[in-house]
């Protein structure tokens, strides 16, 4: 009998199969593996566990972590804790979705294809753009792909990017740009906002694109109007990375003339899970439709005139174009895109606006409470659900003390900026109650 529940082959099956093949033993099927590269002995991995012991071990590992459901958390910085309607997980566990692959055979993949088509529509609605793809790995890689696309389309090599975008986005962008011999030029940040004078000074004929984040990494709302004017002085693209939840109340970048809007749909129904997997989105104007990386789903009809959906405009992609493809992206984050769609549908037209409004209100309430307690903020206006508080003590130390008091503090900005060791980036979502915010403010007072 098989020792493993995932392996159905019996001794008898094996004998019959070997006989059909015409070999005496299974080893014969590996005769083409040269002896000097055959692996001898046993792989150095831990022994197999039966299901009960497995769960015990996994619970042990999970139990060694402090999770954000057990303590009120004020961490954000690109990854947010939000309300996830219970239905989301139930629908995601429909195994027809999660055990399927890329919908290569549309006749038996209509569920996935339609789900993505609906996702594309919702992203267009939120961002104010014409076209959205089926999703990307995450926000930072979506931003990077956008910049790469611009360099390709505009046949230029300079990427002008604000230092107020997420520092990890900036790092990913630089790694990619190095691969393609493109130049990343950073625009200075001042008090948590892009230095617009510096942007204007650095913009040139060689600029392929201007990249901004909105709300930016420090939570603040940039002057998109001014940035757009600069970005469109000559043939270059205006790329905006946006937290899609904020677009429930903010005028979307599409309305400010963005050519590309990217970001991460993680705030919609996707758990934080230590930073991945999340769900990048990628939206463009109609003009850039045929330049978009990744999968696109389009509507069509079947031979009886019935509406259906297919992967389309595939001539852009690696499996057709190989070394002429505009990107090497093969997969998307379909299941997470589905989670985002289900969440956006559950929230709906008014619910999404309400969540966004609550984030705005709660973050400002928290900022006010901290100001009243005597804390200095980087700014007390024009931010969405995050803001920077300036402390007398290094933020890393404060976070340790906060944990002792039962709070997961905000991001120590010293992690990314030498001169910001006393700055803490706080995120306040709809999940933080007034009580928690007030208690946090007191705890912070005692921790500095």
């Amino acid at each position: 009998m098989s020792e493993f529940r995932y392996l159905p082959m019996t001794e008898e099956d094996q004998q019959e199969m070997l006989q059909t093949i015409g070999v005496d033993q299974l080893e014969d099927l590996f005769a083409d593996v040269p002896d000097d590269v055959k692996f001898q002995g046993q792989l150095e991995i831990e022994p197999a566990l039966h299901e009960t012991a497995l769960m015990k071990e996994m619970n042990r590992l999970a139990g060694r972590n402090v999770n954000i459901k057990d303590y009120p958390s004020f961490l954000g910085a690109g990854v947010y804790e939000h309300y996830i309607p219970s239905v989301v997980n139930h629908m995601l566990l429909r195994s027809e979705f999660f055990t399927a692959y890329t919908p290569y055979q549309p006749e038996i993949s209509q569920g996935e294809l339609q789900g993505i088509f609906e996702f594309q529509t919702m992203i267009c609605e939120l961002t104010g753009m014409d076209i959205a793809n089926s999703s990307m790995y995450d926000g930072p890689t979506a931003l990077t792909e956008a910049a790469m696309m611009s360099c390709g389309v505009n046949k230029k090599k300079e990427i002008l990017v604000s230092r107020a975008v997420h520092p990890e986005s900036l790092e990913v962008l630089k790694t990619n740009a190095a691969g393609q011999n493109l130049h990343v030029i950073e625009v200075e940040e001042k008090d948590g906002l892009t230095d617009m004078d510096d942007l204007e000074a650095k913009y040139s004929e060689n600029t392929a694109c201007v990249v901004m984040q909105y709300p930016n990494f420090f939570g603040q709302l940039e002057d998109l109007e001014r940035a757009e004017t600069t970005a469109h002085q000559s043939k270059s693209h205006f790329i905006v990375s946006s937290n899609p939840l904020s677009l429930g109340i903010l005028q979307p970048p599409g309305e400010f003339g963005a050519d590309v809007v990217v970001g991460d749909a993680q705030p919609f129904g996707i758990p934080t899970q230590l930073g991945g997997p999340h769900c990048g989105y990628f939206a463009v104007t109609k003009k850039l439709m045929r330049k978009v990386p990744g999968r696109l789903v389009g509507q069509t009809t079947d031979e009886n005139g019935e509406r259906g959906f297919v992967l389309t405009l595939q001539a852009r992609e690696q499996h057709i174009r190989r070394d002429k493809a505009t990107s090497n992206i093969c997969s998307n984050q379909a299941l997470n895109a589905l989670a985002a769609s289900i969440t956006m549908s559950a929230l709906g037209k008014y619910g999404l606006e309400e969540v966004a409004e609550q984030n705005l209100q709660k973050a400002h309430y928290a900022a006010g409470v901290l100001q009243d307690a005597g804390f200095e903020l980087e700014t007390d206006k024009l931010f969405f659900n995050e803001f920077v508080v300036r402390l007398d003590t290094p933020a890393a130390e404060v976070n340790e003390r906060l944990m002792e008091k039962g709070f997961i503090g905000g991001l120590d900005l010293g992690r990314f900026y030498e001169n910001r060791r006393h700055d803490m980036l706080l995120a306040v979502t709809e999940l933080r109650t007034k009580e928690e915010i007030d208690a946090f403010a007191s705890a912070l007072e005692e921790s500095v």
Binding site: L49, F98, S169, L221, T272, P277, T312, S345, G348, Q361
Partner: protein, 489 residues
Amino acid sequence: MTTNGQPLIFEYSREGRRGHSLPELDIDKKDDLLPAALRRKKKADLPQVSELQLVRHYTALSRRNHGVDSGFYPLGSCTMKYNPKVNEDVARLPGFAHLHPYQPEGQIQGALELMYKLQRSLEAVTGMDQVTLQPAAGAHGEWTGLMLIRAFHEANGDTGRTKVIVPDSAHGTNPASAVVAGFEAVTVRSTEEGLVDLDHLRELTGDDTAALMLTNPNTLGLFERQITEMADIIHGAGGKLYYDGANSNAILGMTRPGDMGFDVVHLNLHKTFTTPHGGGGPGSGPVGVKQDLVPYLPAPVVQEKEGTFFFNWDFPASIGRVKPYYGNFGINVRAYTYIRTMGPEGLRQVSRQAVLNANYMLRRLEPYFDAPYKQHCKHEFVLSGSRQKKLGVRTLDMAKRLLDFGYHPPTIYFPINVEECLMIEPTETESKETLDEFCDAMIQIAKEAEDTPEVVQEAPHHTVLGRLDETTAARKPVLRYEKQEAVTT
């Protein structure tokens, strides 16, 4: 166009319905927090549906989708094996699902321990010295690996290595990744036996060779027997060997890329290590390297000291970050759960049985279809539909006909060097009965191609939709729903 099949979620929407239950705002609302110019003018027109409508809609969509749980899914090179349920349970434990990437190391020791042990397990499986868990998917891993090779050559002042050699049978991502990493992709031919043409490889290899990318077993399902000779050719010229791990399901515990001479490996955890494909993602594509490439890895990697786990950020020569945070942790949790379920002997059995299943199917089907390669296959094999094509039945038709039997068809028209190709990968989690039933269906279709070709040509007959018009979809793209204005009569 008729739309009575399955409405879009937007078409259920009615003003005033809701599917959520938000907390009340427990503070006084202020109206002056945003200037009017920044406030959204027109609401995003998202659907308004009740919770049951939402559930019915997505349940209906799921019923119009075929997954591994629905039935056999022998999609070649994709390793559509069973995705264990317990993996999903583990990934949803709050201690894994609800961690924030910026929590201090002291708060996430369990997660770090898991990542460390997964790194070590994958190092053991591949024979590599250090694994990074950062890449998000296979193609992302390929590109990361090539960037590492590029950094290695550049650090040695070896800047003339501009070419990456890729076999004609390679996955499309290989040449695309090479280009995105700043290389020129050069194609090496396969022989009639389906293996890399060594003479051609020697011709192409020189002091401009940065790397050879190879899948072994290759996409034809054949083991590249001359792998050590190939390694010698490439290494002799100063190049590096890249292992595309898409086909690792054939080799677990049987042979290791590190022992074959490869310098860099990526693994697709969503293939070999049972994490779900999710309809196209998310996946995870860890990369393993030999010692001389370690300095260039993206930081951080997880290390251990006296029972404490920590991120090592000290990679001054690093190519830089390829993904935010620490990779697709949620997927990596599932893969580690699987590795702990199987253990070393279980993983070895996986590959042995995957290979046995594929060879069994090959031998059952070869009387009815052209089998271009005679050697034993590994975990997958290719057939050619050229015999059926002469009867007016294309491989696409046969694939569509398989849908009527409740199967997901094999990969078709890939690899591109086989005419009317069908690429079949059964995996080890399928029973002999399933393999037999599928073979019987294939044999029936081969007979239909002779006797009643129209039955195959007009397939599918039993799916929710017939064949879809992909030409119009591409020519006049409709990529989003537009609300129809009410028609007054």
